[in-house]
């Protein structure tokens, strides 16, 4: 018997190894075929016009097209602008990677030689400069009759750069200068022939003096010049948490929720604009429309709004700044006339990205973004929602009011707040706080619904005592939480699901009595 069994074992083993071998051989052949089929796209053989979209979008505004030569055509101007921006993009990229890729397309021979030596030197000294330009204000000086030569002055180009040596950050520098540029049309490319850096010119931009609904005076936020205490809540519809403007978007649901919020004596909501979902640099109009509908609805329900931008954005690399700036500009400027927007919150908890993305990238990104948003909506305030009360001091002089999130011990709250109050005299807002009632299968020693109610009761008591502005987390328990928010571990996800004042079935939890003061 044992002999027969042995034989069977051998057979099974032989058969299995044969099949496995076959699979391996097939796999190898397919990967070889796949390897042979990859390579450059055939269309790259053609000299097709390259697309600037999604690579480099600094703000460009032509001041004047009047010139003593030929009248500038729209079409030419578009090409010129595109190629000029490409010359910057390629120069920035060359200084970052120390390769001369693309230089030949956008620079004529002499400048190319200089650039090559500069790149070689930086490479030898292990210097890498990550840079971007943020605004361009070109003024056409001359366009030749045959349409082959153009001279313009690019006034007050804002440049930002992070300088690395031996892969270590040396410093960050922001500078403004004017460039006078002569470009020639060669082989269908506008190429830089001469480029001279010059002193910046005096800025003639005037401050916008529109009527503001929300203003800041000392450490108070005012609404129509009367003190306004934010009593708010972070809002996502129950069934479309973190995906508010997706397929489940339903104004009726949101209207009902807004009624619940205003009946609970809250006056503010905080909502989020996800960066990728809204189309990155090319913002989708249908998403903007949905956002506007929400804002309009909030207005009818007399709710003020804090909008947090750049949700789910995490790449702060200098070369992509211009894309994010165009995103913010489009979103913010299309909502600039809503007088129920208290503030634009630049980014949710950006301080958590300091380590992974480099503080030298994140902090100046925030600071530049504040300027972009302020320019796009001069009537609205700007804030940044930091993940902890300690981080509140970052860029405190640039925001209109300081926002922080508090998930730490209640007992420490007053002391920590006192430190922040000492550091800044701007208004402070607890923009997120809350407790998950997640006691159950995934968390044996979690908090119960009663604990949650107790927590909010205590917090509201403190808020009432000090008349503090608060925005709690959050209205609903969520049946589903995307992996992007809390990772894929069920015990963490489960916690994130149960921060609400209302449970999944729509019943008010005990904490609902302490939703406001």
């Amino acid at each position: 018997m044992s002999l027969i069994n042995n034989k069977n074992n051998y057979r099974v083993f032989l058969l299995a190894s044969f099949i496995a071998l076959n699979i391996l051989v097939l796999y190898a052949i397919t990967s070889i075929l796949a390897y042979l089929n990859e390579g450059a796209d055939r269309s790259t053989m053609l000299h097709l016009d390259k697309m600037t979209i999604n690579t480099y979008l600094p703000k460009v505004s032509w001041e004047s097209l009047e010139n003593p030569g030929r009248a500038m055509e729209k079409q030419t101007l578009a090409t010129l602008e595109k190629h000029y921006l490409f010359s910057w993009y390629i120069k920035n990229n060359a200084l970052k990677t120390n390769t001369s890729e693309g230089i030949a397309d956008y620079f004529t021979e002499n400048p190319r030689k200089i650039l090559d030596t500069i790149i070689q030197q930086n490479k030898a000294n292990k210097i890498s400069i990550e840079s971007t330009t943020l605004t361009h204000n070109p003024k056409l000086e001359f366009y030749s009759e045959d349409g082959q030569l153009v001279v313009f002055t690019d006034e007050n180009v804002i440049e930002f750069q992070n300088i690395y040596q031996d892969k270590k950050l040396v410093t960050s520098v922001k500078d403004t200068a004017t460039y006078k540029v002569l470009m020639l049309l060669e082989d269908g490319f506008w190429r830089i022939r001469h480029c001279e850096r010059m002193a910046k010119v005096a800025d003639t931009l005037q401050a916008n003096t529109n009527e503001k609904t929300f203003t800041v005076k000392g450490n108070q936020i005012l609404k129509n010049n009367k003190p306004f205490v934010i009593k708010g809540i972070n809002y996502y519809p129950k069934n479309s948490a973190w995906d508010m403007y997706g397929d489940l978007f339903n104004l009726d649901t949101i209207a009902t929720d807004f009624d619940i919020i205003s009946k609970a004596k809250l006056n503010t909501i905080r909502i989020f604009v996800p960066y990728e979902d809204f189309g990155k640099a090319e913002v989708k109009t249908e998403k903007i429309e949905k956002l506007k509908q929400v804002l309009e609805l909030a207005k009818t329900k007399k709710l003020a709004v804090i909008i947090t931008l750049f949700d789910f954005y995490g790449d702060y690399s200098v070369s992509n700044w211009t894309l994010t700036q165009r995103h913010a500009e489009t979103v913010v400027s299309s909502c600039k006339n809503f007088d129920n927007i208290i503030a634009w919150d630049i980014k949710n908890e950006p301080d958590l990205d300091f380590e992974s993305r480099g503080i030298q990238n994140v902090k100046p990104w925030l600071s530049e973004m504040i300027e972009v948003v302020k320019k796009a909506a001069p009537n609205h305030l700007v804030t940044i929602g930091y993940s902890s009360i300690k981080a509140g001091e970052i860029l405190k002089d640039e925001v209109d009011f300081v926002s922080y999130h508090y998930y730490e011990d209640i007992l420490l709250f007053k002391d920590k707040l006192a430190i922040l109050e000492k550091a800044t005299n701007k208004p402070l807002v607890v923009q997120e706080f809350g407790m998950s009632s997640n006691k159950g299968f995934w968390s044996w020693n979690g908090n119960s619904k009663e604990d949650q109610a107790e927590y909010h009761k205590k917090m509201q008591a403190i808020f009432k005592e000090k008349q503090l502005a608060f925005v709690s987390w959050t209205l609903y328990d969520f049946p589903k939480v995307p992996n992007g928010v809390a990772g894929k571990w069920p015990w963490i996800k489960n916690k994130q699901k149960q921060f609400g004042f209302i449970d999944v079935e729509g019943r008010q939890k005990p904490s609902f009595s302490y939703i406001s003061y």
């Binding site: 120069k91 030596t117 500069i118 001279v151 002569l182 022939r193 850096r197």
Partner: protein, 413 residues
């Protein structure tokens, strides 16, 4: 005495106070600025080495970050006691720019400033120039633009207001204009003279001279003109050719138009049918050819340069040659031979003259057969498959003459 002493004391005390305060102030400023920028020069000439110096006590070796027209880099300094010197690399100091510098010590910006690198006027001047468009029409404000970019030997555009002499020649006139550079360039519009030909253009700046550029000045568009015709004889023989010629086409300044100008001759005949022929000009004259008609006709001819100008209209009459036409029927009347057809001098007509035979039965047209003449003859055959044994009448037409033949019985014999 006492008063004097008091005065002296007061003066002394105040002097002491002033001195003390000055030293105190001095001390403060020293403690504040541990380093100072000691390069006083603000403008440097391109091509000459540039050294930037700072004085101070440096714990760590500071670095200088510079932003230049074409690039950015980080420089290491040479430390000599309490002075640190930064030397710009050649590729930076050769090119004009506003250079911004940032002194970095321990990842911190300690000082910043600017200096200017200006073009080097002592080096050889180079002149890059562009002429465009390379050709234009005479007069009427048409022009070609000559753009020059004077640079120093390091390829830096020269200072604003650098003078460039732009010269241009046409026939006996040579003109020189001194243009000053602005925005890197000095330029001039060279307006077209009213005579066609070539304009030569060149420029010079200091010792730099450009090569000779030439712009072609083409004649402008044609004005109205006249036409005439020439022919061998006036007979409508369907064979000879009438040549239509234009007068010399000229523009409004009297220049003969460019060769190859297309002229369209539009011909209207007696039946109001439009015919067309074309010619292109050589030395201003275009020629078109038309074949004589095969019968008497009268042509009205007018020529156009499409959309630009027109000619007078002329009339050409063609006389009938009134040929003598012989013909015969075969026995069964199935073969009809026409010819010889004789022309105006009794000569046999050229080959290829159209001969038309119309066949009627009871006054209704059965068929029209057309044959070309060969040695003055044409033969028609009525096949038995189609033409049954019936009575038919015939009409023979050629060169505008028609002969009617009464009914004949077509048989099969």
């Amino acid at each position: 005495m006492m008063k004097r002493k008091l005065h002296i004391i007061i003066i002394l005390v105040s002097i002491a106070l002033v001195l003390l305060s000055v030293t105190l102030l001095d001390k403060k400023s020293i403690t504040k600025n541990t380093l100072s920028y000691i390069t006083t020069q603000e403008n440097f000439v391109a091509g000459k080495p540039i050294a930037i110096e700072f004085k101070g006590s440096f714990e760590n070796k500071p670095q200088l970050y510079i932003i230049h027209s074409f690039g950015r880099t980080l420089l290491d300094g040479i430390l000599k006691k309490d002075i640190i010197q930064f030397n710009l690399p050649k590729n930076y100091y050769n090119k004009t720019s506003l250079v911004s510098w940032f002194l970095i010590e321990n990842n911190d910006e300690k000082a910043k400033g600017n200096f200017q690198i200006i073009p080097n006027d002592e080096t050889k001047t180079n002149l890059e120039s562009y002429l465009g468009p390379p050709s234009t029409l005479v007069g009427d404000g048409h022009f070609t633009m000559f753009v020059t970019i004077p640079t120093d030997n390091f390829d830096n555009p020269k200072f604003t207001n650098t003078e460039v002499a732009i010269k241009h020649q046409f026939l006996n006139t040579i003109a020189t204009d001194n243009e000053k550079t602005k925005d890197f360039i000095a330029w001039k519009n060279i307006y077209a003279p009213t005579k066609s030909g070539g304009v030569l253009i060149s420029a010079s700046c200091n010792e730099a001279i450009t090569k000779e550029f030439d712009a072609v000045i083409y004649p402008s568009i044609a004005t109205d003109f006249t036409i005439a015709y020439k022919r061998n004889h006036e007979f409508a023989d369907g064979n000879q050719i009438t040549r239509l010629t234009t007068s010399i086409l000229k523009d409004k300044f009297g220049n003969t138009v460019s060769d190859g100008t297309m002229v369209t001759f539009i011909i209207k005949n007696k039946e109001n049918v439009l015919l067309k022929t074309f010619g292109t000009t050589i030395e201003g004259i275009a020629t078109g050819q038309i074949l004589h008609p095969e019968k008497e006709n009268s042509y009205i001819v007018k020529a156009y340069v499409n959309g630009i100008s027109k000619s007078n209209s002329i009339q050409i009459n063609y006389k009938s040659i009134n040929p003598t036409i012989a013909y015969s029927f075969s026995k069964d009347n199935r073969t009809i031979s026409v010819g010889p057809i004789k022309s105006f001098m009794n000569q046999i007509v050229p080959d290829g003259i159209k001969v038309t035979l119309r066949i009627y039965h009871n006054d209704t047209l059965v068929e029209t057969i057309i044959e070309d003449s060969n040695r003055g003859k044409a033969t028609f055959y009525l096949s038995p498959e189609f033409y049954k044994e019936k009575k038919y009448s015939f009409e023979i037409e050629t060169l505008g003459k028609t002969i009617k033949k009464a009914e004949k019985n077509v048989s099969n014999k």
